[in-house]
């Protein structure tokens, strides 16, 4: 079975991306994440008067989500910025496979990295919740991390420096997690005081919410607590991820193709 040069280059870039992350002490970080999560879970269990397992699951899941998103964003931004500063990007883009193969290879590598990062979180969730619900939560977390990874790559490619790229990714993540609440607050205010400014704010909140993925619905703690996750939830997460990842990848490709090195 033979693959086209573009596929071979993409696969090599993906493997190199993963290898780079593992050589950058990622495995130690994941062990620390798992151990820290376990210790925190035991501590919370000792503090709670009742609802012990629920308290452990809810707080641990929320913290692990944030920690995993942070780890993925930092690794992606650091990797792309370092490669750009070392002029490796120019060298790789000069290969006959083309820019798209390089970009898709990088993104595939980041996707594998996100799965690795989500693994300890999923195992801890499995220890505190029903296996099916923990798997659903883990699938939602992986999709969320894929979106964070691709958005971080987009920012790092476009901005070229680590600090602004990380700030932009952090802002995007917080906004995507809270866009639904902002929308609700804006509409609530517009209903109570229906003047032009409130309507304008509500329209603005709608626009922001429509442009962003609803990350708050991706890995919900209530699935772990009350077993409310269903196949429909998973389908919604997968569909939203597919749409937004396609949008972000296309944006990255446009940015990469129009750039002169």
């Amino acid at each position: 079975m033979t693959f086209s040069p573009a596929v071979r280059v993409g696969a090599t870039v993906a493997c190199d991306t993963l290898r780079e992350a593992l050589r950058g002490r990622l495995s130690w970080l994941l062990v620390a994440l798992g151990a820290g999560g376990f210790a925190l879970s035991a501590f919370l269990g000792a503090l709670a008067l009742t609802d012990t397992r629920e308290t452990q699951a809810a707080l641990l899941a929320a913290l692990l989500r944030l920690a995993c998103a942070g780890i993925v964003a930092v690794f992606v931004v650091a990797s792309i910025v370092r490669e750009a500063h070392d002029k490796q990007t120019e060298m790789l883009l000069a290969l006959p496979a083309g820019r798209a193969a390089w970009l898709l290879g990088r993104l595939a590598g980041f996707a594998l990295l996100a799965v690795l990062v989500a693994l300890p979180a999923g195992l801890l969730a499995g220890a505190l919740a029903a296996p099916a619900q923990a798997m659903l939560w883990s699938a939602g977390l992986v999709c969320e991390l894929w979106i964070v990874a691709v958005f971080a790559a987009f920012c790092a490619l476009g901005l070229g420096h680590a600090a602004p790229a990380l700030c932009a990714t952090g802002g995007f993540y917080l906004l995507a997690r809270s866009a639904a609440v902002l929308q609700w607050l804006a509409h609530d205010a517009a209903q109570r005081a229906p003047d032009a400014s409130q309507r304008f704010i509500a329209a603005g909140a709608d626009a922001v919410a429509f442009l962003l993925p609803r990350l708050d619905s991706f890995a919900r703690a209530e699935w772990l607590l009350y077993g409310t996750g269903t196949a429909a939830d998973l389908a919604g997460v997968l569909a939203q991820s597919a749409i937004f990842l396609t949008l972000l990848t296309a944006a990255c490709l446009v940015d990469l193709h129009r750039r002169r090195f």
């Binding site: 709670a48 008067l49 009742t50 308290t55 609440v181 609530d188």
Partner: protein, 246 residues
Amino acid sequence: MTSTRPVPRAVALTLAAALVAQVSWHALHPLTSAAAVALPAAPPMAVLRLASLGENEALAKLLLLSLAAHDGQAGAALSLRALDYDRVVGWLERAVTLDPRARAPLAAASEVYAAVPDAARVRVMLAFVERQFAADPARRWPWLAQAALVARHRLHDLPLARRYARELRLRAPGAPPWARQMEAFVLEEMDEREAARAVIGALLDSGQITDPNELRFLARRLEGMQEEMRQPPRRTEPAAQSPPGL
């Protein structure tokens, strides 16, 4: 193997001296005990929803843990009396609104905050439990049963206990027979410890409580009551002087 260069002696000495200075500094400045801080008003619901980033259940648990941290500042009995109970209710209501299926806010209200040796504060907590029961009787009946018991034996307010017991009978058809029969149970002149022992025993036997911490807590209380029942009987004290608990 990676080759290393020797560190200049001055650098090594500076490092050691700095380490000694750091440890000495902390040894000479022990951590002062934090002063008890008054419980602030619960944040507005909109702010909490925004801060939760969609993790309403996690934030509800965090609110309860931070509330518990306030009443653990200076010894449970003292700090419960010092707490502003209207504010406590505000925090508990926020937690219930964020996570309506949680048991902890109602358990805290009926088992912890209602244990304060102050009848007015106990009534504030019981009113909170009654309001929350009305919103979801099928799930929240155990805490109204607890409230009925507190009203009967700690507040000595028979009409209030009867009202709670009647609500249980009328609005919680899914509750087990012992809870639905509590109205009659309250009306009988039964010894306080005997009643409490019966209800806690029934709660444990029903299998409805599965949380290990709560099971241990109730089992310890049941054991304590059985121990007390072996002692010679004593007259029930009024609410203002009676010890915390049932």
